[in-house]
Symmetry: C2
Subunit: 165 residues, 2 copies
């Protein structure tokens, strides 16, 4: 894959959502920006969704990604959590569609497999490997931030057909 | 309750979403507008969510409701349906928040109880009672349209503290 691309990775949550922008330039990956946005679970749900939606739009306007990669959900969680996460994912997918960007979804297992080489990798292993792949200092990433970068890395791996270092 | 209000009732669905605008004027309820919007389940989810979001915004701009009443979900459904419905509800709550409107949520049982007088009422009983309460011809409402009008009627009943005819 010769082309250069920018991928916005998102780890959706109803309280904390992680963002990670990864660029692939001349066959090398680089972390452009990453972070988390938190909104108190005591705020009304509609307000929290507005916050998440605005933050996705802001990330897209700031970094001009070519596509969005979003972590899929565990279906095993309890129904109430799934419903809440569904609301958050809904406004994230909406923001991507409104910005005309294609969305790619990856199950947590697929992300771990792609980044660490094992679908059963721990959160720490994912954060450590993401830092290594992107040349970031070890131990500096928030968990949800690392997960968002990981789903972006996973998408770049999938696009390229092989791990990119 | 003396004030006149306009309530936009919404019955969310990932394929069919029902809308029903009910006005309370001088102590009497009136159906202002109602209908359904359908989007093929073969379209990408992000596109379907954009369609639902735009339609909610269009309803709000057309009818200037004072508040939005949304049907809550059955928690008993299978997790995959709950997740899909969660996405749809997410963009509906977002559209209401972006328009500065308060959102009130009612469980299907509460809506049936309020409109028919029994939480176990059938879909047909709800449609029939909604038609009667709003002076609409019997048998003309789509099921999701009737449910949307019913949740608006339920909210007006709750606001008034007593059934309004």
């Amino acid at each position: 894959m010769a082309e250069n691309v920018i991928v916005l990775g998102i780890d959706p949550g109803s309280v904390v959502t992680g963002f990670g922008v990864v660029a692939l330039e001349n066959g090398r990956m680089r972390a452009v920006s990453s972070g988390i946005t938190r909104v108190s679970s005591e705020r009304p749900l509609s307000e929290r969704l507005q916050h998440i939606h605005s933050e996705v739009i802001r990330q897209i306007e700031a970094h001009h990604p070519d596509m969005v990669a979003v972590e899929d959900l565990f279906y095993a969680k309890n129904v109430k959590s799934v419903l809440k996460l569904g609301h958050a994912r809904g406004v994230i997918l909406l923001a991507a569609a409104q910005s005309g960007l294609p969305v790619h979804e990856y199950a947590p297992r697929a992300v771990k497999q792609s980044v660490v080489g094992s679908g059963a990798a721990s959160k720490d292993q994912v954060a450590s490997m993401v830092s290594r792949l992107l040349g970031l200092e070890q131990g500096t990433l928030e968990a949800d931030e690392a997960d968002a970068l990981a789903v972006a890395v996973c998408h770049i791996h999938r696009m390229s057909g092989a791990p990119v270092r």
